[in-house]
């Protein structure tokens, strides 16, 4: 009895410390989403419920200045009384959210004045949501756009979902709660996101049927007052599948007519419809190449249909054939020669790196290489390659690293560019949102949705600034006392070290794609699927052999370095000047080659093998440091949130050990070298790690139970 009593006392100490009650569903916001249909009314309602200073006023700046993007606003505060000026209602709403954010994050809101304008015109979330409710690479429950149809999916004897059920959505579309969609729109508006694509780029033709479009109209109507524009990902073969045509050839008149009519139908329902997102001739999706046409011919056909209504085409450059010797070069090889052929309402959507959302990639050489073509970046918020929702990974450092590179090296001007065609005027990211209570699978993952919005609005914000903003609003009711301030510092420490930790424990020094087959959770450098596409297997990327490690993309190899601007190409091409972070991306490096590199605070000159070992060890150490950072927050953070993240960080550290052991033991079979003495010996056996098969779909995060049972 005594013991139970003691335990209760103890738990109550944990639970009732000073902290903000928070179940995760509130995100970084307070109050509820106003239901007004006028954007200005929403702005007023938000201030009424959340602004604690003098009564705010709004002023219309009647004429938009040249080069001033839609949504820009300025704020004047005098003696605590703010006025928000903008040429648009959405600018006023953004101003209102900005004001509230300043107050919540403890900024000076008494006397100040400033102007805010977005870095990119289109700030868009791509949802890889299937019409049956599953989300490809989603680890936060099921779709908030398409009704959960889990009960209708069949599983085979192994528990795998029947593929057909994924591809064949139910005939009758169902969409979930409009209140939920309003909360979604409000959250986006609060950080400046102004567009979304609710369906997967592996698109079902059915989304263009009238019955689905009627549902999309309902969504569009709900989110419109929050400044959110609706786009659709479309299947290029739609005219055949749902239009009854015998071809989808973009030069075929019937096909063109079909699209023109379909676009008209859409705009009748959704007058501010944004346009189409297209994945064509990529990973089995249909596209113009199937009919002997180019990407440009395909994209332009759609762009023509959309042009009269102001719509655009976002055409993805994520293409790679099964046979090419270097997958990293292919998007460039296919698209760069098409520069100048795309209509001006086509934007080429390019993933940040040339492979596929790896923990660290070189930037895609396509950026800046098509001066006559509009381009946009595609980031991935959902952690397909970053431990799904089990791992805590704050991605702002990855994205600012990319932005810096494309501005400095690829010379991509942003928005107010002298040559508008060359400017990046749009930015997209693959969402991590689902119907889980915390929206993103866990509370910390919300920081990446937040960071994407904030960076899309202002790409000069630093990861530290954004982490500070987000954590103050999301985790801490009040950071004025010392204990909360200390916890805030710990959370930021955790966030800011997380991405490099993941690079280090997963694939440091430019290694990439050492992931498990299919679901991409956990290491599988040893993956060997007989008959599989070579470029879907890790060995294709690591190229480990007795001599060394890494993919020779230098001029003595695939010459991918040659796709970059000449100055940068020279730096990359020389094994002795190539940045160590990208060394194995561009070079096949002998195990004994002495390299200079950095891990944590240490600069070292040592062999590739020792460097590799030190990075993996450092990654594991950093995972532990992240745990420690989080432990410092106990009592300052809602107890359920604390426990949930604590549990995930434990999984993450165990996974880091799995990564370190799996990769190092496997590469050791080639290097035949021992670990340096300050690297912990493996605790796993390679043979056992080789045998691990999680058997999950590509829309599942493995449970702790599953992981514990295999590793």
């Amino acid at each position: 009895m005594k013991k139970h009593f003691a335990l209760l006392t103890c738990l109550s100490l944990f639970v009732f410390g000073k902290m903000s009650a928070h179940d995760g569903s509130q995100l970084w916001l307070q109050g509820t989403a106003p239901t007004a249909t006028s954007t200005l009314e929403i702005a007023k309602a938000e201030l009424a419920q959340n602004w604690k200073g003098g009564e705010p006023e709004f002023g219309f700046a009647k004429i938009r200045k040249k080069d001033e993007p839609v949504g820009s606003f300025s704020i004047f505060i005098k003696a605590g009384k703010p006025t928000i000026f903008s040429a648009t209602e959405i600018g006023m709403l953004y101003g209102a959210y900005h004001l509230i954010r300043l107050q919540q994050t403890g900024a000076n809101v008494t006397d100040t004045a400033f102007v805010e304008k977005p870095s990119y015109d289109i700030r868009i979330l791509n949802h890889w949501d299937n019409l049956n409710g599953t989300i490809e690479r989603g680890y936060a429950g099921r779709s908030i756009f398409w009704r959960n149809s889990a009960d209708q999916m069949r599983r085979n004897a192994d528990g795998e979902v029947n593929e057909e059920d994924l591809l064949q959505p139910k005939d009758a579309p169902e969409i979930p709660s409009l209140d939920h969609l309003r909360d979604y729109a409000r959250a986006n508006a609060s950080i400046g996101i102004n567009a979304y694509v609710p369906d997967n780029v592996n698109a079902s033709p059915k989304v263009l049927t009238t019955e689905y479009l009627l549902e999309v109209k309902k969504m569009a109507d709900v989110v419109r007052p929050y400044g959110m524009k609706t786009y659709l990902a479309i299947n290029f073969a739609s005219p055949m599948v749902i239009g009854g045509l015998s071809t989808a050839d973009p030069l075929n008149k019937d096909v063109q007519r079909w699209w023109t009519a379909k676009v008209k139908e859409i705009y009748k329902l959704i007058p501010d419809f944004g346009g189409f997102l297209v994945k064509a001739n990529s990973e089995g999706q249909p596209g113009p190449n199937d009919f002997g046409r180019t990407h440009a011919e395909g994209a332009n056909m759609l762009a023509k249909a959309l042009k009269p209504f102001g719509g655009i085409v976002m055409w993805r450059a994520f293409v790679y054939s099964p046979s090419d010797p270097d997958r990293a070069k292919q998007a460039y090889l296919e698209f760069q020669p098409l520069d100048g052929q795309f209509l001006d309402n086509v934007i080429i959507q390019i993933k940040n790196g040339p492979i596929d959302f790896q923990p660290r990639e070189a930037y895609s050489a396509l950026f800046g290489a098509m001066p006559q073509t509009r381009q946009m970046a595609e980031w991935q918020i959902t952690q397909e390659y970053l431990g799904h929702s089990n791992h805590i990974a704050y991605l702002a450092p990855m994205w600012t690293e990319f932005l810096q590179q494309i501005k400095d090296i690829a010379h991509c001007p942003i928005n107010n560019a002298t040559s508008p065609a060359r400017a990046l005027t749009a930015i997209s990211a693959v969402s991590n949102i689902g119907n889980s209570p915390s929206w993103c699978g866990n509370v910390m993952a919300q920081s990446n949705w937040y960071a994407f919005g904030r960076l899309a609005w202002n790409d000069e914000l630093t990861p530290c600034q954004i982490a500070d903003e987000w954590a103050r609003q999301t985790l801490f009711a009040d950071c004025s006392d010392a204990a909360a301030a200390k916890a805030l510092a710990s959370v930021k420490s955790l966030m800011l070290r997380s991405r490099e930790a993941i690079v280090d424990y997963m694939m440091p020094l430019g290694l990439h794609h050492q992931f498990a087959w299919g679901h991409h959770y956990g290491p599988e450098p040893y993956c060997d699927i007989p008959g599989a596409r070579p470029d879907w297997m890790p060995s294709y990327y690591a190229k480990a052999d007795r001599e060394g490690l890494g993919f020779n993309r230098s001029s003595t190899g695939s010459n991918a370095t040659g796709q970059y601007p000449a100055d940068y190409a020279r730096v990359l091409d020389d094994i002795d000047t190539c940045p160590y972070e990208l060394l194995l991306w561009f070079h096949h490096v002998p195990w004994g080659k002495i390299i200079q590199h950095r891990y944590g605070d240490r600069v070292a000159r040592e062999s590739l093998w020792d460097a590799l070992c030190h990075h993996y060890q450092h990654g594991l150490d950093e995972a532990r440091a992240m745990q420690r950072d989080w432990e410092h927050c106990q009592g300052q953070i809602d107890a359920d949130t604390f426990a949930d993240i604590q549990r995930r960080l434990r999984i993450q550290t165990r996974d880091a050990q799995w990564w370190k052991d799996g990769c190092l033991l496997y590469f050791q079979t080639f290097s035949c070298l021992p670990f340096p003495d300050d690297v912990e010996p493996a605790v796993h056996d390679l043979d056992k790690l080789r045998a691990i098969k999680l058997g999950i779909t590509n829309f599942e995060c493995p449970s702790q139970e599953l992981l514990d049972s295999v590793r």
Copy 2:
């Protein structure tokens, strides 16, 4: 193809380095066991096959000197030509093995002279082997004495062995290969062990049936030339079970007659039979208390029957009733008052500590407390509480620590004592031997068999000396080159740190018995079996509560400290002078109490909670250091042996993490304090650890697969 070739090249480097070929079955010996039936002939044969110096001679020292124990010998070597003098043939055999050992370990064998005599007269291995071939707490296969009957054991639906099959051996006894027994006898002789008990102390009455005795005679005949004396563990109720009597009352004439006749029968078969080992009135075994008689009355009855033949009774003091408030006090309370009542051919066999072979215990207060009674120590070689055969634990440091204490504090004289009755003239240990290829479950575990023999022969040897001897003979063909010498140093480093590492990661600071229910593998401080004996549950020992941790055995508690000699009792009784290694053994210590303690090279003054955390962390760090030590031996040790121990060390490190997390997270529910910053946060969840049930018997070491599937 190229990759496979590279891999083969690499593996071959591992396999064909400089090392001794060794499959583990050879133990620390070379050559084969001579089959001669004369001890002197065996000595000659051993030298002939293994001695590489001048031709050895033997000299009979006709009369044994006073106080010179049987088996003593002296060796003179002149110009590489040795002469072994002894009063007995077994002394000559020991001398021969000693000579070979000197040569194998690189000692000077050219010109030297010395005398060797054993510290203890009886140096005996207790085998807890059941007649059906299973071995209680054995993790190295099945019995080498009793035929493997695994195929006849039934398992229930859960895979558990039917208890009846364990208790009911087959009617027809079978014993295994006599060659194997000869190898066993030779190994023992080579390190001075001169006695064994082939059957479990939880004894089957059947071992005393004529058909089993005939088999025991065969064993005795095989091992006799190697100086090995045979003893039997007997069931006190044998006269009832196999004798058809209605009682086993030691004062009953029929019972006495039955034992007298049985002893006669045994000596007729085995003229040098050693005597009986008895576990009575302990953990459900029958004994004199069942008939209202004392342990002394029971032991003396057997001693009288054995006396005419020179036989002895080893009567175990391992008793504890289910109800007493402090189990640690009970052996003393039951036995100490009987001092003076035991016949002189009774030896009380006392476990080193008052509980049960924990990683660290205070010594049993019975030692030195019965001046009129012969006593012997019982150690445990098999790693019941030390990670079974999965963990590498070199136990010489534990045993020398004990020997030092009973000599210094309990004033137990050894052999050449002024009062022979008080002298420890015998020493026993529970064997770790089974029919696994390496005898002991793994090669490193052989070091404990070796160390027991060597310490029983010469209890002034240091753990380091013994480790050096053992490793040179067992693992390295030749330590003359630098690489092998370095590997030898690493192996010794591993061995010498292993026991304290285990104390630290399992139960530091005097904690004890936090083991999983039944099989004792892994942590279970949270164990809670409704209705179970309290003293079979960890909470009984840890006494964790909101205030602190530890069992108050001071004068304000159970006063177990009062059982020790007054000077030492005073030291133990004061929380501020009690050695930190035994602090929680004797005191309930507040979480915040500042203690001075040492872990690794660090001396710290800090709170109990911080100290506890640091010890667990240090244990985990040491497990990693042991892995590292072993990695340094790669290429210098037989590849299979290297891989096997490497695999076990990986399990050990993962188990160390399990122990650290399980214990600290559980105790944290009471302390409500955070880990210090230099302690790694947990990677396991307490709730998940609580749910772990290995479901193994008490003669199984859990497989890696089983462990991986649960933790």
